[in-house]
Amino acid sequence: MGRKSVIQANSPSNADTGKGQVSDTPSLDRGQIRPEPALAQKLLEVRDLKTKFYTVDGVVNALNGISYSVDKGECLAIVGESGSGKTVGVLSILRLIQSPPGRIVGGSIFFKGIDLLTLDDRALREIRGGAIAVIFQDPMTSLNPVMRISAQITENIMAHERLTHVQARAKAVDLLAMVGIPTPAKRLNDYPHQFSGGMRQRVMIAMALSCSPQLIIADEPTTALDVTVQAQIVELVKKLQAELGTAVIWISHDLGVVARLADRVAVMYAGHIVETAPVDELYARPAHPYTIGLLNSLPRLDARTKTKLQAIGGLPPNLLGDLRGCPFAPRCRFATNRCREENPTLAEVAPGHAVACWHDELTRAQA
């Protein structure tokens, strides 16, 4: 799982075929696909999603009931530090969590009104790479090293569309041209190692776009790339999103990238969403102490010289076992006894702006 391996490093078994990644939680209605009329306008609606990893050291509570939604054509950014559950949160949508040890133990994921957690393998495969596509973090390891780019793109196309091999190849050429790969017809026969990191990520993007998805999940797609290449990829995704009207979930720990790209931001901490707001609102009026800490820890161009970079004191909590109270309380300078006893839930403080904090008014006044 690339950089996110921290959580799964204690896997009791490295032996997994990846089948059946969803738990048999009895509370979930299985085998039924029922549209939810009330949610028809939302493209994706995640409700109270819980994912755990059953490791030899104990149960890691990677996701502790997160809820969020994505509208058609919207770009939602999920930010947070390593191990906060960002990647697990989005990989759970397509049940791509390594299992064992990972298991989705509760919640629901409605995509266009259909609960993805109730789908059988075949129906899920139709969604994977079709209506929902993923761009992974590390383009160096996310492409098969011994398979030509052409085969890797066309297998995605042919899994979802009734095209001949020749037609699929022609489409692959168009896709490579669209993501800005020079001489695409020639490059199609190359292997991944013949591409640079940025070019490989373009190939990944071309692959993700191949079946005109309505939602693209981008899991830190620029983290492994140079800064200049990062900027190119961000611009590319922005352009394609505007042209194709695709919704994007963009995972990042880079608040600079998020500011340029996202419509809305969800901040994650220790497997919880602690704050969500439209991007301008979040940067202008952050309400959760953790969000404030994140924004303060950014280096600023307009800061006076010799000012020290601010950091959030302490370490993120260990997700092994159950946590009591607000997960951020041990590091929070506003924490009270209530924070240490009760975990706050998301509450709206302004239109579209929700925060999970008992003292958000206090923190905002002080920030």
Binding site: S13, T17, G18, R125, I127, R128, V146, H193
Partner: protein
Amino acid sequence: MRFIIRRLLQSLIVVFGVSIIAFGMLFMTGDPTEILLGNGADHMTVAQIQDFRVKMGFDRPWYVQYASFVGKAVQGDFGYSFVRHEPAYEVIMDKMPATIQLASVAFVLSLLVSIPLGVLSAMRPHKPIDRIATVLALIGQSIPSFWLGILLILLFGVQLKWLPISGSGSWQHIIMPAITLAAFPIARNMRLTRSSMLDFMQRDFVRTARAKGISETRVVYAHVLRNSLLPLVTSIGLEAGFLLGGSVITETIFGWPGVGREIVSAIGSKDFNVVQAGVIMLALIFAGVNLIIDLAYSWIDPRIRYDT
């Protein structure tokens, strides 16, 4: 193309090394004149012995002798067999088809059994099929081939009388020696396939493949297995040598008329020219097979093809 030429040169170096060892064998055991004459020397005068030495060319410096040995060997001339009184090269090449036949059957058998079994195990780790395969692999790796051969003869040859116990000639003759010879490679390759598959299952690109919505079968065969073959090919290359040269015991047990058995009997009768011819011909085949394996490697892994 440069890759092929480089590998070809490396193979030549291997054969060169083997030729030195094969040539040196004659001298490592003492004065070749005395060895060749054996007890016959007791009835000869010193002058006669010296005559024989000069006739055989043993009085020349070793490098002159080596040069002459190589010069003849490249023309297929390894001298005469002292025992059979026919060219040593022909003695060996008469037996070569039988050895290659046995090695090929064992080789194909080992691949056909080990790879599917390894894949099955990796698909269901720690499930019954995996446990059974693991136990079988343990047995296959630890049983000495002479013992397995004898057990097979006892069961299928003596008790059940299904298969001939010795010799060659029909397809039934090759079954037991092939199984005996293949047991170890089957066990090793099965374990290698299993661990390699399990390793590659965890890779990022396998997750990418799953995210495309392709079938699990395609994920396993097109993505995981092809990558898993890389470490396996190295093992298979070594195995080819093992099957060709290491079949001495199996050939002896089953009376299989191959090169290995011929070399062993030639060593017993101090028929050095035959030993030299046998060792060098096996080395040539071994180098050739490894060359093919290297080329296969570059075919499976494009990174090797282009980086060199």
